[in-house]
């Protein structure tokens, strides 16, 4: 029977399936970070349990680590305690740990792929909603809560109801300067924040095939913002080329055997999806979020919505509330929005291609005097590579801060936060009220758009930017 990519992986991982019940699913890879894991380890201790497959469990610190000079002691006592707790837990339970002093440390969704831990055909979970990122490799990857983290640590399995399948096909070639971030913002704008609830998304089409692994990760990363259980992309030569030679990838003959298997994973031509959507993205302009949910997005050339344009009283109220929080005037052009802060980073857009693209925009220019801008590389390897290419110097000379790797201002756990009323052009994934700090106002954009906004102090259409 013809199967989708998702169905092939799902069927291969079902340990137990009773009629009418959810399935018990085997988990190939469990990623752990300092914030959603302490209670799970404590639960194991109280029950006298071990980690069932410590060899399939990998941990790092990212959510609450300082992004300032690592040669200095950590001032934030809470952060220090979380880091120490995870260090101890990994030591006690025999888990591979990429701590602050490890050269591979970084955002969990950046380092998994970077080290080749993430591979096609796997089931991957992590106590973090952006685990969907790993689906870019043709893995089934999704976020779980802390109770489930404990369950997976103890059993390497998880109870899951089988989701439905939803394929989004993307046709056309993107205009230079328009990025994977703009595509996923446009998708969420189109389907809505609950548009893929109950589904696993598969992204397909010529536009996806042309994308690099990093661009595919940006797309899959924000699947959760459309309500999806997971987002997936079929593995192809781009995937295999990316994985070859990485530290956890198979080597030699075993790599070829793995590729042979991975090549069987793509959706069969005759397979049926529960839902299909085709989008033309050839004329897509850069996207900017204007409101307080990732579905509230418009073109950079567009205007802020006017509640009166909607005939639905509920929608009118929703728009008005978002405008009030964001401090925006109905109908104003996006290009008139002045910004105070710029954040380039997060598991969505902190990889080397993101930094290269942003550096190209700022090279030889200066950050606007009214803007405070920072770059937070996704991992230590990304940071080192960027520095070897001189990107750090480009950013610093332009007036950006160049930080150490971590989640930073994406979720405002550490001191990297917006002040009330501050407006930020951010390459992160969520523009919820209070997400980047109480009263902070977030506009989600791609890395080049964020970089240009830092220079101009307002949003500009990156398609008109002179990159020399």
């Amino acid at each position: 029977m013809a199967k989708t990519l998702f169905e092939k992986i799902w069927d291969k991982h079902v340990v137990l399936q009773e009629p009418g019940q959810p399935a018990l699913l085997y988990i190939d890879c469990h990623l752990v970070h300092e914030v959603t894991s302490p209670q799970a380890f404590e639960g194991l201790r109280l029950a006298g349990r071990k980690v069932r497959r410590s060899d399939l469990t990998y941990a790092t610190v990212d959510h609450n680590v300082p992004t300032t000079d690592r040669s200095l002691p950590i001032v934030d006592q809470v952060s220090l305690q979380q880091i120490n707790t995870l260090t101890q837990n990994c030591s006690d339970f025999g888990i591979q740990f990429f701590g602050l002093d490890n050269p591979s440390q970084g955002i969990v969704h950046v380092i998994g792929p970077e080290m080749g831990i993430t591979q096609p055909g796997m089931t991957i979970v992590c106590g973090d909603s952006h685990t969907s990122t790993h689906g870019a490799f043709g893995a089934l990857a999704f976020g779980i809560g802390t109770s489930e983290v404990e369950h997976v640590l103890a059993t390497q399995c998880l109870v899951q109801a089988k989701p439905r399948t939803f394929r989004i096909s993307l046709n056309g070639s993107l205009h230079p300067g328009v990025t994977a971030k703009d595509v996923i913002l446009y998708i969420i704008r189109t389907i809505g924040t609950a548009g893929a609830t109950g589904y696993v998304l598969e992204y397909a089409g010529e536009a996806i095939r042309k994308m690099s692994m990093e661009e595919r990760m940006t797309i899959c990363n924000m699947s959760i913002e459309g309500g999806a259980r997971a987002g997936m992309i079929a593995p192809d030569d781009t995937t295999f080329d990316y994985l070859e030679g990485r530290s956890y990838s198979p080597t030699g003959k075993r790599f070829q055997e793995a590729v042979d298997y991975w090549q069987t994973l793509p959706t069969d031509p005759a397979a049926q999806f529960d839902r299909e959507l085709t989008l033309e993205i050839g004329d897509l302009p850069p996207q900017v979020s204007w409101g307080t949910s990732p579905g509230m997005v418009t073109d950079v050339t567009g205007n802020i919505p006017n509640p009166e344009d909607s005939s639905d009283p509920v929608e009118q109220k929703t728009i008005q509330r978002a405008l009030d929080y964001m401090g925006l005037r109905a109908g104003m052009p996006v290009g008139e929005i002045a910004i105070d802060r710029v954040f380039i980073g997060s598991c969505t857009n902190s990889r080397i291609e993101d930094l290269r693209a942003a550096a190209k925009v700022v090279q030889g220019r200066k950050v606007s005097s009214s803007v405070h801008a920072m770059v937070v590389p996704g991992s230590q390897p990304v940071k080192r590579l960027a520095e070897s290419e001189g990107l750090d110097a480009i950013f610093r000379e332009a007036g950006f801060e160049w930080r150490e790797s971590g989640c930073s201002m994406c979720l405002a756990m550490n001191p990297d936060v917006l002040q009330p009323g501050e407006r930020c052009a951010s390459t992160s994934n969520r523009n919820f009220e209070g997400r980047q700090g109480k009263g902070g106002r977030t506009h989600l954009v791609g890395p080049e758009m964020a970089a240009a906004a830092a220079i101009e102090g307002r949003f500009v259409d990156i398609r008109n930017w002179d990159r020399d």
Binding site: Q21, H63, I144, G145, E150, H151, T197, G227, L411
Partner: protein, 165 residues
Amino acid sequence: MGKVVYKLAEDISTDIIYPGRFMATVLPSETPQFCFADDAEFNRQLVSGQIERGSVIVADENFGSGSSREQAASTLKGHGLIVVARSFARIFLQNAVNLGLPTVTCPDIEADLGDDLEVGPDSVLNRTTGKRFPVKPLPATKQAVVDAGGLIPYVRERVVAERSA
């Protein structure tokens, strides 16, 4: 019966329920103090004990969207709140089940602040307006987890039962 003590729109994120800056706090005994922390007035009412246990939060679609932080469920459970929403985001709902937080999916719910609701397994009766709204029940497997008090107690019960069988 429970009184509606908080009425919310759609897409209420876990950043609103439990802001990120308090995420270092994980113990269910400690998370309740930061419940809806950015709404100072409602948080004060909760923390000062003015709101009775068994009170109801009513929300529109997609309650609990965003981050997987389990504190968003434990903070509500700590105050004994019941959430009645038109729909829930997946990870939040799973966390609620895993912690034994009562959630009620009621696709057509209409209720205002101060209304008295009678929450039953099949329907929610708004006693103030007299209107009754059907409930979309949790799957039996999830309800069994809620009834056991959460995922970890549920699995422990089953393992013990199987070993002694």
